[in-house]
Subunit: 142 residues, 2 copies
DNA sequence: TTATATATTATAATTATTCTAAACTGTTGA
DNA sequence: TCAACAGTTTAGAATAATTATAATATATAA
């Protein structure tokens, strides 16, 4: 996994000043094996847990949005009043468990490439995302 | 197009009391040719415009959620801090124009059937939705 | 090292949504 | 028909997520 030095480099490369807070957030987000699905709140909580130090919520928002703009994070579409982010920025899809509200990454090969036949003049396709909603088999939908 | 009588029937059939407000909301939502994508706010605005009468926002929320629970409306997954609803409850997909924030329905045949190979034990697939994000071709993403 | 542009922070403001409790209305059955 | 009850509507308060603000602090270039 990457060392802090790398984060400092990486941030600088993309034109983001490597401030203390940004480097810390990068550590938490990217020093891990598996990809991380989180809300801003999850992240803020993790910061104060793991670092015994608080970072202003506004900074967490700013930093996450900055990282997203630079392509280090991806926002995920789910119906929810919260925004979810994903450290896996490659093209991939999600299962959403409606019982537990858990989000599960799909391997590329678990969903066949989606063939979009329509195109809109003057517009380019930015992304094609599939969301598979699942729920317990014996749930009656009252 | 359906007459109010039909809405009263329909509501009653599904166990929703056909109150004045619910019938009005049904009129606005379902007395139209093309499907309607809206937020609660859009709907509330339309009500006061078309009917010169206000319905409490709380009632709009309650009614939309009741209609959704009964399957007359579908909630759409987009990254946004608002919830979008769709009067087209059939399985279909969407284009989302990131420039104009417009949502466009996809005909069934404009996206090939998505083949999901993964399945999760004890869970059934409720829906498979594709969201295609498009944006102006000459936009630099700075 | 200093000047300057940028970032952080606490807090206020905003926006979407849900809750609450009182008033009201649709429905059921005498 | 009408009383009674359960379900609904309502305005406004409460909550939650996010964004704006403006003062302070920091990173970086010269």
């Amino acid at each position: 996994m990457l060392k802090n030095m790398n984060f400092i480099e990486k941030l600088r490369e993309t034109g983001l000043r490597p401030t203390k807070q940004r480097v810390k957030i990068c550590e938490i987000l990217f020093n891990r094996e598996k990809t991380f699905h989180f809300t801003i709140n999850d992240l803020a909580k993790k910061i104060s847990e793991e670092l015994n130090e608080k970072i202003s919520l506004a900074t967490v928002y700013n930093t996450v949005h900055a990282l997203q703009k630079k392509g280090y994070l991806k926002e995920i579409s789910i119906n929810s009043n919260k925004s979810y982010f994903d450290t896996n920025t490659s093209v991939h899809h999600h299962f959403y468990d409606e019982d537990t509200h858990q989000l599960i990454d799909c391997d590329e090969n678990e969903i066949e490439t989606v063939n979009v036949k329509k195109n809109i003049t003057g517009k380019k396709i930015n992304s094609v995302e599939v969301l598979v909603r699942v729920a317990s088999d014996n749930q009656n939908q009252n």
